[in-house]
Symmetry: C2
Subunit: 141 residues, 2 copies
């Protein structure tokens, strides 16, 4: 992390996200574990440009808070939404979705997995390049 | 909000916090309502220098994420802790505490009230000036 990133970002990058569930390079910093007191997992995720996670669901729901860069969010069957600093996404339980950076910008969000006693994440299939680039084919960012 | 604040901060200031539960000027921006899907209230709070909330508890617990400035956090019977950007505070259910800005700096945090189905907040008495200034009397910030 360079000095400018260090000053701008809230958290250090953390651990490299698993290539089993992420395409490209992303970093996950655990902030609050999913215990039976808070019933909430909280983490910070930094996606390098082009990086994204696989399609997945959260049995207890999730809230994303975009804090830096330009990101992508997509629910199955809907178009990709652009995310910018300060955007908040409420993801209902069991909704199939993915998130990540846009092709040309790093992206950082805080993830809040609510009702973690119901399970935090169910991973599904990879987001294909065709799915990922569907926005840039449709319009200029 | 001036241009520099606007660029730095994640969220607009929101609504003025109730003088019933806050000393000084603070602003609350609701991000996620306490509904029965997420069971979580999320909001952003900006405290002007010297501002703080009253002593209170959260029946379902709370997590604070400091995002800007220098803040104070105190649990009953313990010394005041300083909070800086990137600090995360886990507040157990029913622990009596307060938070706010330090005397000379604005402070901003995201507040995540977990298990909101158990109740989000129980307000208690005002934080006195003696309590608030106990840190600056003990040491230089």
């Amino acid at each position: 992390m360079n000095a400018s990133e260090n000053k701008r970002l809230l958290f250090p990058k953390g651990e490299k996200a698993s290539p089993e569930y992420f395409t490209g390079t992303a970093w996950v910093k655990n902030l609050v574990p999913a215990d039976d007191t808070f019933n909430t997992w909280i983490g910070n995720v930094v996606f390098e440009p082009g990086a994204r996670n696989y399609w997945h669901t959260h049995p207890g729901g999730q809230v994303l808070i975009a804090t830096d860069g330009v990101g992508y969010y997509q629910e199955k069957g809907k178009p990709i939404q652009l995310l910018h600093k300060g955007d908040v996404v409420q993801i209902l339980p069991d909704v199939v979705h993915w998130h990540g950076a846009s092709p040309d910008s790093q992206f950082t969000h805080i993830a809040i997995n609510t009702n973690s006693q119901k399970g935090t994440v169910v991973w599904l299939e990879k987001v294909t390049d065709e799915e990922y680039y569907s926005l840039t084919k449709a319009a200029t960012i």
